[in-house]
């Protein structure tokens, strides 16, 4: 009986741990504003709960793909680079959890590294 109870307790502990696992901190829209060719450039990222994301440059869709987050790391793929290959970036979420910075850990896609590494985005409210 004791063993059974211990087993149930362990299962419950595992389940509850899963249940209180942190929600995906990236869900929603994030924006980075910069200047390009002497004009304003807004890059907006939309991360969805179904594991897909889109990027927009001045409101124009320019990239889409899939992602998942594990602890402080995002794994991200898109069909321009290779939809079956995940680039790996460290996420640093700061401020009132309303800012995020992407730092490359490993990514063979040079264009994505150039467009993401070191960039900070602010949550769109």
């Amino acid at each position: 009986m004791k063993k059974k109870l211990a087993f149930i307790a362990i299962v419950l502990a595992i389940c509850s741990f899963k249940l209180i696992d942190e929600p995906n901190p990236l869900l929603g829209k994030w924006e980075s504003k910069t200047v390009y060719k002497e004009g304003p450039l807004s890059i907006l990222l939309l991360f969805r709960a179904d594991g897909t994301y889109d990027g927009f440059a001045n409101k124009k869709t320019f990239v889409n793909g899939t992602y998942h987050v594990s602890k402080d790391t995002i794994f991200i793929a898109d069909p321009i680079c290779n939809s079956k290959y995940n680039g790996k970036y460290k996420l640093t979420i700061f401020g009132e959890r309303d800012s995020v910075k992407f730092d490359v850990i490993s990514d063979t896609c040079k264009a994505r590294v150039a467009g993401a590494n070191g960039f900070t985005f602010k949550r769109v409210k």
């Binding site: 004009g39 001045n58 409101k59 124009k60 320019f62 321009i80 939809s83």
Partner: protein
């Protein structure tokens, strides 16, 4: 005719003449964009004063032309299809062969081109300086008389405003509005990124990347425009052209640098099996080495996806 009747006739003629004159007077521009728009539509920038930028870059067709080759002054034909003047703000090269690196550089080239507007820039500047309306407008906006630099800036600044951000496709992706595009267009988007592999070249905000590619429309016999190589003089650039942007593509037929395809379906059929249309191309990109084997439904889906890239202002009109 009595004196009285003659008097009425002269009065009517004078009234019509004055009305017509004042009816064409432009409101005074206050910004470089407003000035650029007036210049874009004014034939004053062509040698015979009959052709303006807007003669070939027609607003109703997303600032492109429906003719295979547009007609310049004295009905002279160019050699390449007129590209759209829209969605240029984020581009890094201009013209099919990329010969201009900035919109300002681009803006003056058609004015001087003998088969387009055929007006040397110094002559164009003199005309603008001699024109009271333009002299005043340039002085107010730039604090100087018309010159090469501010003429280019006005035209370029106007073109930078011609952006397409409100399409059914963007509505679907940005707002998760599932009703913005058809199920067929959604399947087309998957094909675009997958089986059809269009995304390898057509990506970025305007779906055209920044590269030049040889898609097989140069064979040295019937298709003799060597494209990018004219600019770079490199044999490796033979038959390469700027990748065409896809926003508003549904209303900018005909297609390709030479306007050889009249419909989007013809374009899709070409990419599906290029050898069937141009059997012996020179230096065709290896991405097009094998037929795509698209089904008829898949071709329709791709077409519907491309149509979803049309600015809503044109969808309403059509």
């Amino acid at each position: 005719m009595t004196m009285k009747k003659l008097g009425y006739l002269i009065f009517i003629c004078a009234f019509v003449s004055l009305t017509a004159h004042f009816g064409f007077v432009e409101a005074e521009p206050k910004t470089t964009v407003e000035l650029g728009k007036i210049l874009f539509n004014d034939p004053i920038l062509s040698s015979n004063k009959k052709i303006s930028c807007a003669s070939c870059h027609k607003e109703e067709f997303a600032f492109a032309d429906t003719a295979t080759l547009s007609l310049g002054v004295n009905d002279q034909k160019g050699t390449r299809n007129t590209p759209s003047s829209m969605n240029l703000a984020l581009q890094v090269s201009f013209f099919w062969d990329g010969r201009a690196k900035t919109l300002e550089d681009q803006a003056l080239i058609p004015i001087e081109n003998p088969v387009e507007m055929n007006l040397p820039i110094p002559v164009a500047i003199k005309r603008l300086q001699a024109n009271k309306f333009y002299l005043n407008a340039f002085k107010k906006i730039f604090n100087e008389e018309p010159n090469r630099k501010n003429l280019a800036q006005a035209l370029a600044d106007f073109q930078r405003t011609l952006e397409t951000t409100d399409t059914p496709f963007d509505d679907w992706r940005m707002n998760d509005n599932q009703n913005a595009v058809s199920e067929s267009a959604k399947r087309g988007f998957l094909l675009f990124n997958g089986k059809a592999n269009c995304v390898q070249c057509h990506f970025g905000p305007d779906f055209n990347n920044i590269e030049f590619r040889a898609i097989g429309l140069f064979d040295g016999k019937k298709l003799i425009d060597s494209g990018r190589a004219v600019v770079t003089k490199k044999p490796s650039d033979l038959g390469k052209f700027k990748i065409g942007p896809l926003r508003n593509i549904a209303i900018t037929a005909p297609y390709m640098h030479n306007g050889m395809f009249n419909t989007l379906r013809e374009v899709i059929d070409y990419y599906n099996d290029p050898d069937k249309i141009v059997p012996n191309p020179i230096s065709r990109d290896s991405l097009l080495a094998k037929p795509l084997n698209l089904t008829e439904t898949e071709k329709m889906d791709l077409e519907n996806f491309l149509i979803s890239l049309t600015d809503k202002r044109y969808l309403v009109k059509n």
